[in-house]
């Protein structure tokens, strides 16, 4: 039930509430009706009893004083359908109504009270006058007939109540939730690329409107800080690039200056190369900061993976040659990608570079690719010591290097960049296997449609 849509939860709760309310109403009605019916019964019976004694008295007046004379005619008709017993002063039964099969047990209580006779609850009272005693009463069941009928009728209505409230409140709830659903859809459209979108504020002045205004204000702040971060990275890029460009021009000038000694020029050449590296580190950091902001710009195109990998594999062969490392490649033809070719080249280059870098003398590199469920999977495996198990978790961290030092060049940004670039394409880079013999990475990228 936790996973139910809100409107069905609301509907169910409302329906249960309606059933409970109907039950409570029926019970209350039953009690009130019972009370009223009993009171009316008591009044009616008292009036009938008085009429009976009046009749007896009138009749007697015209007679001798020899004692009460009873005649069935004196019993009012309205009284006869109840339980009625008439006795004389000696206690002899003079009359029993049709429904009363045997005389009442005499308990001596005058006023109306409830009595249990033969398993039935009976309400009765005793009236005495001129030596005659009239006991009259009836089953409580008979008295409370209307209350019980109403109660049962209300119980019978419960399925209808349940059904109507269930449907009705589901409808009401969906009307109430409709603005929330609209908010959800609108918020869904607001992504890093479209942060300027806002939720439509309804013309009402209710809680929903307040919520939307609050959300819009949050989006506003989000957009501002996002733009600040993006502008910062763009500005930083420009501001770093210009001094580097100057530096480079300076060094190029030294290289061109024939008055400089050869050793100066040799050093200048080294500096030029360092500048080139510096500028690529700046490029990489900017790329990463952009990836963090979800703003990697992809210049997507359709291209064949094999053609793109040609150069990367050529590099690998060239670098692997002096290490006596063999490079095997199995890239099927016509395996097309829909991606940014420069970035895919960088991913492949970074991974293949690592495969060379962390290889052993006389080792092996294997690059394979295949189409899997609308994706292209490329695996790059190499012989080598592998990544220690306890450090595998840090593998994609920035500036993380399994083995540092002068022997292995690099900054430790290659893998994190490869992963960010793959993720910018809705793909990924993962470590599939790494032990003391074989290390394998897998790249997943979108297949061309």
């Amino acid at each position: 039930m936790r996973n139910w849509p809100l409107r069905w939860k609301v509907a169910l709760y409302s329906a249960l509430l309606a059933v409970a309310a109907t039950l409570a109403g029926a019970t209350t009605t039953w009690f009130i009706m019972r009370h009223a019916e009993i009171a009316a019964f008591d009044r009616r019976l008292t009036t009938d009893a008085q009429e009976f004694f009046r009749d007896v008295e009138h009749f007697e007046k015209g007679r001798t004083n020899s004692g009460p004379v009873f005649n069935e005619i004196f019993v009012p008709l309205s009284l006869r359908k109840h339980l009625v017993e008439v006795t004389d002063a000696s206690g002899a039964v003079l009359y029993l109504s049709a429904r009363l099969r045997q005389p009442f047990p005499h308990d001596g209580i005058k006023q109306f009270h409830n009595h249990r006779i033969e398993g039935r609850r009976v309400r009765l009272a005793e009236f005495s006058e001129n030596g005659l005693t009239l006991r009259a009463g009836d089953d409580l069941k008979e008295i409370n007939q209307i209350g019980r009928d109403i109660f049962l009728a209300m119980l019978g209505a419960i399925p209808t109540v349940l059904f109507v409230t269930l449907i009705g409140s589901a409808w009401v709830a969906s009307k109430a939730i409709a603005p929330v659903e609209k908010i959800r859809q609108a918020a869904n459209r607001i992504t890093a690329q479209r942060l300027d979108q806002r939720l439509p504020v309804p013309p009402t002045n209710d809680e929903i409107a307040g919520l939307i205004e609050m959300l819009n204000a949050t989006f506003e702040r989000l957009q501002r800080s996002f733009e600040q971060a993006a502008r910062f990275s763009a500005d930083a890029s420009h501001h770093l690039k210009t001094p580097i460009a100057i530096l480079r021009a300076d060094v190029e000038e030294i290289l061109a200056d024939i008055n400089c000694s050869e050793s100066t020029q040799a050093r200048a050449e080294g500096v030029l190369h360092r500048i080139h590296q510096l500028s690529s580190v700046v490029d990489n950091l900017l790329l990463l900061s952009r990836a963090d902001a979800g703003r990697v710009e992809l210049a997507k195109a359709e291209f064949e993976l094999g053609e793109l990998l040609e150069g990367v594999l050529d590099d690998a062969l060239t670098l692997a040659e002096p290490l006596d490392v063999t490079v095997e490649a199995n890239i099927p033809k016509h395996l097309r990608l829909n991606a940014d070719p420069i970035f895919v080249g960088m991913i492949a280059q970074n991974l293949v570079e690592n495969a060379v870098k962390y290889n052993i003398h006389g080792g092996r590199i294997r690059v394979e690719a295949r189409a899997v469920n609308g994706n292209v999977e490329m695996t790059i495996g190499n012989t080598g010591d592998g990544i220690p198990r306890e450090r595998a978790g840090q593998l994609f961290d920035r500036f993380f290097r399994v083995r540092g030092g002068a022997r292995v060049p690099g900054h430790g940004l290659g893998l994190s960049i490869a992963r960010e670039l793959a993720r910018a394409h809705d793909g990924d880079v993962e470590l599939v296997r790494s032990d003391e013999r074989w290390t394998e990475m897998r790249v997943r990228l979108p297949h061309a449609a």
Binding site: H238, K241, T242, L247, L287, G311, D315, T318, G345, E353
Partner: protein, 254 residues
């Protein structure tokens, strides 16, 4: 034999630089002297650009902000504008937009920060003719400027030829005389870069940038490896020459 040839060339190259006071090849039969408006706020870089352009045989005019640049273009027609994107006040894009809006169709080369796809796209969309990412090699700037300066845009050649070495750009086949030479992907890209501008000296760094889109950790090492492979394949007499501390060049004879 090769050694002496290279040394000899190296000497001549130095001589040439001495007389020209620059690295730029003077074999610019297809370009002419251009008046170039350079818009760059960074003074040092602007000076470098102007000096290089002057050495390349052009006449640069330097301004440091967008408003002045617009003022200059109103009174005079330049052959080319080298325009930095990041400028104080009116930025490069704004200048470009204004130029195109006032129907000034002077060719524009924009200078962007490297890797900014949006800058590149925006710039070209606004009507820039080419872009160059910072930090760039000054020679690269001259090469781009010269390319833009050509009256009639060159038809992309199908074949590049130096002496008896012929590179077919379509089928990627290389011939030395009648002998056919197979090239790997990188060898082809590298040789193409060299052969497009024969005689020009490329530094290893510049070749790295030409062949690999992004920096390669082993770039310089790879350039050397591929150059030596190319040399072996091309065989003698050598065409690819090492210019000490500067880099490599391809030419028939010095």
């Amino acid at each position: 034999m090769n050694r002496s040839a290279v040394r000899n060339f190296s000497f001549v190259a130095r001589k040439t630089r001495h007389s020209n006071a620059g690295l730029v090849s003077r074999r610019r039969v297809d370009t002419e002297v251009m008046e170039i408006l350079v818009v760059e706020d960074e003074v040092r870089l602007a000076q470098h650009i102007c000096r290089t352009l002057t050495e390349g045989g052009h006449e640069p005019v330097l301004v440091h902000d967008g408003e002045t640049a617009l003022g200059k273009t109103e009174v005079k027609r330049y052959d080319l504008i080298v325009l930095d994107v990041m400028l104080p006040g009116v930025d490069g894009f704004e200048v470009l937009r204004h130029l195109r809006a006032t129907e000034i169709d002077t060719r524009v080369l924009i200078l962007t920060a490297r890797g900014e796809v949006s800058d590149r796209v925006t710039g070209l969309g606004l009507g820039a003719d080419d872009y160059l990412a910072k930090p760039f090699a000054m020679q690269e700037l001259v090469a781009r400027v010269n390319a833009l300066g050509r009256r009639f845009p060159e038809e992309a050649p199908i074949k590049l030829q130096i002496g008896d070495l012929v590179l077919n750009l379509l089928d990627r086949k290389l011939h030395r005389g009648r002998r056919r030479i197979d090239l790997s992907a990188r060898e082809f890209t590298l040789l193409r870069a060299l052969m497009r501008e024969p005689g020009r000296v490329f530094s290893r760094t510049e070749l790295c940038e030409r062949v690999w889109e992004r920096e390669h950790e082993y770039g310089v090492k790879l350039v050397e490896a591929f150059i030596s492979r190319l040399r072996k394949k091309i065989d003698s007499p050598p065409l690819i020459h090492t210019v000490r501390h500067l880099g490599y060049t391809i030419r028939e004879r010095e």
